[in-house]
Subunit: 249 residues, 4 copies
């Protein structure tokens, strides 16, 4: 059988989960304007104090039983992602909701939408990469600069710059709590089934290494209000997503 | 508010419908193997006699209230599409089901999936285009050749060639009947809402012009069995899609 | 033999010429600042009165003996181009020099550089396309709007908008005279051969049709100084380029 | 001034050199058919015993004074490359000549052509990447598989697979000697300057680390004759290219 694009399987756009991720991040934590943020975070999530995160990353991702695809179909295992996340509350819990998450491949787009991320397809995401053997580049150290940008359509959807000041610890990165999302599949005609549910994305196996902390700046077309950068960070992270669970209001 | 990628609106990936289309096609009608086709056409649709269509086209598309986007956001109004359609029956009716339809933009991908097309994102679709003022090209006439291909990942997903023999009429193109599809949005965790419904895509305003008929050949990675070409055609078409309606078993 | 990328031949990036073109243009004529323009037009060309042209177009192009490639290799016959041209003088003649011409394919990039155009590779060029059978679109008429943009790297290299007011004639489009360029291939080490010559591109068979004239605006990252739009135009054109000839100082 | 695309400078497609490289390779060494190889290696280079190398790699590259571009313009510092190299002799020396080297960016394409590489623009190059924090992936060890492919136009230009068996040493990788190339810039009309010179690319600062050796296979559209794989390798490498020097016949 030929799998439907949204129904995980060997001929679908989406591999069967759980899905494993290893990612390299350039990120900036900032304060946006809570009133503006309210316009881009749907109920039942409630914007917290305006704390946000923006990042650009490269991700290596495989499905639970598809680790061999890094060799047989490498194009199905590498993508870039750029996103803005907003600190939110749901009932008594806190978490992060991403109004938009741009990605560079079909499979990360559809997989994410299925799980509840509001993913969009970027035209291009580019970010700083170093290489230890490049004779013209230094290893990361205080003063090293990183940057990244995401282009969609006629212009820049997101760009950010980080200058690192010191090696850090995973605990230097704020934990927002849960990862929230919206699964939606509206009707296009009479009598159709629909989906409209807030979810918590089920993340596990999280590890963070190679943290560097410094200053940062961010620009985005997303309506986050005036941006007050808090700090910038560069780090690596790994985690597993097994799907999402419906949140009952 | 920021629209969810799948919920039509000004900041969604999908414009509000109905959606209007104007398209230039290079297509080949062929017979595939009914047993093979049965593997790629889901129930409740029943493969007919093995008649299929394959095409590559360029489409100019706008939402009902978004015609000005051809100027303000041309990237949101032009895309390429390649597809294989299989003649099917549903109850007493006949129609066409497209096991896969490759497109080149996010918005045509997501809009199609929402309406029930099993769309996938192509890496590249290329097809013959003529230009009346190019001093090295002749106007279309008997013997003129057309071609197109769709690449996804490491190789060619579909390619076709047509050599036209004579001007034709819209009635030279077989009418398969209705356009069928599947709307699916499966669960990724406990207690989630899901969608799984066969649909008829609601097409209207169909017009066909500039028909040329000839011979054709087609290659595809899709499992259609041995291909016996029936004929090739080049034509222009316009139509409107207003959504889809659920088919009750 | 395998042809060198720059040596025209069947396995080169460049087909053997002459090369034939059929193109659809959205263009804006404007005045830039002559002092700024002087910084982007190399000697021996002398900036005239600041008159410039900017355009975005789609081009169908074939080599003299390669018209069949529209069917066998359509990807080698279609590209998009965006450019800014500056009215110049060379000795007693006038002409246009294009400080930069962005294109979307390898073969148009290298073919152009060989002939003397200062071509660059765009990440994306998008422009208004209409379709006579699209039920949501009107045929071109007074008030119709057109637009186009070119993205390279993190941002927009060029964008323009045109609102047409009336059908026009080819004579409504200013003729700048000759098309000038620079053929350059500098040394990268001791004792190497080099090329550094101003040229006139050899254009013939020019035809223009479907002219519409109106107002326009243009934005560009190119340093043209303050832009005063003169008028906008939409038209189709065909021509042949057979190469270029060296201009002797 | 606006730099010509081929004349290194801040507004050219090419940064000023020397250029520094850090690269991750998946490669296969193989024997091709010397008679076939003779058709794709130009004089004055003489095909040796048929030994060839094929690879896919990701490269981080910066110009001598442009290391900050990894942050300010990351799109100008990362690209992918795929190539086939043929062991050759020039006079009493041996070296490698690359009949074709596909790359994914404008600047690596033009920089390479200027230095004497017969570069072409790929539509896509994809290759295995691992990530130490991905919970679904193991660190490299005996039995690990790697792959890569390059797509151009309607199909695959090159693909390769490697299964590593053991950690190796830089000395496990055959040294072909010098890197040869052809600088060519032919005439397109009467009286034009031209370039046609064999060169040696000036490489220095070479370092190789993280070598793993195993078996491999390769497919390519390039006419190398029957392919007999010798071995596969995965490694990292850094080097500097300062330009090229003309070889006198």
């Amino acid at each position: 059988m030929l799998d439907h694009p949204l129904v995980p399987g060997p001929t679908s756009a989406i591999e069967k989960g759980p899905w494993h991720y290893g990612a390299d991040y350039v990120s900036v934590y900032f304060r946006g304007d809570p009133f503006s943020l309210k316009q881009i975070v749907p109920r039942p999530f409630v914007v917290d104090d305006g704390t946000c995160t923006a990042y650009v990353c490269e991700i290596i991702s495989v499905g639970e039983s598809g680790a061999d695809m890094v060799a047989s179909r490498p194009d199905r295992t590498v993508y870039h992602e750029a996103a803005v996340g907003v600190k939110c509350r749901f009932k008594e819990n806190t978490g992060v909701f991403f109004p938009v998450m741009w990605v560079t491949t079909e499979w990360s787009l559809l997989r994410g939408i299925l799980n509840g991320y509001q993913k969009r397809l970027a035209d291009r995401i580019s970010m700083t990469k170093l290489h230890p053997l490049n004779p013209g580049l230094n290893p990361i150290s205080a003063g090293a600069k990183f940057g990244g940008f995401c282009v969609k359509g006629p212009g820049e959807a997101l760009s950010l710059e980080v200058e690192v000041e010191r090696a850090g610890e995973p605990s230097d990165l704020p934990s927002f709590g849960a990862t929230y999302g919206m699964r939606r599949f509206p009707s296009t005609g009479f009598g159709q089934e629909t989906v409209n549910e807030p979810v918590e994305i089920l993340k596990s196996n999280s590890r963070i290494t190679d943290v560097w902390i410094g200053t940062g700046s961010v620009r985005t077309e997303l309506g986050v209000g005036g941006i007050r950068p808090l700090f910038g960070a560069v780090y690596r992270s790994g985690f597993t997503i097994s799907g999402s669970r419906a949140l009952k209001g």
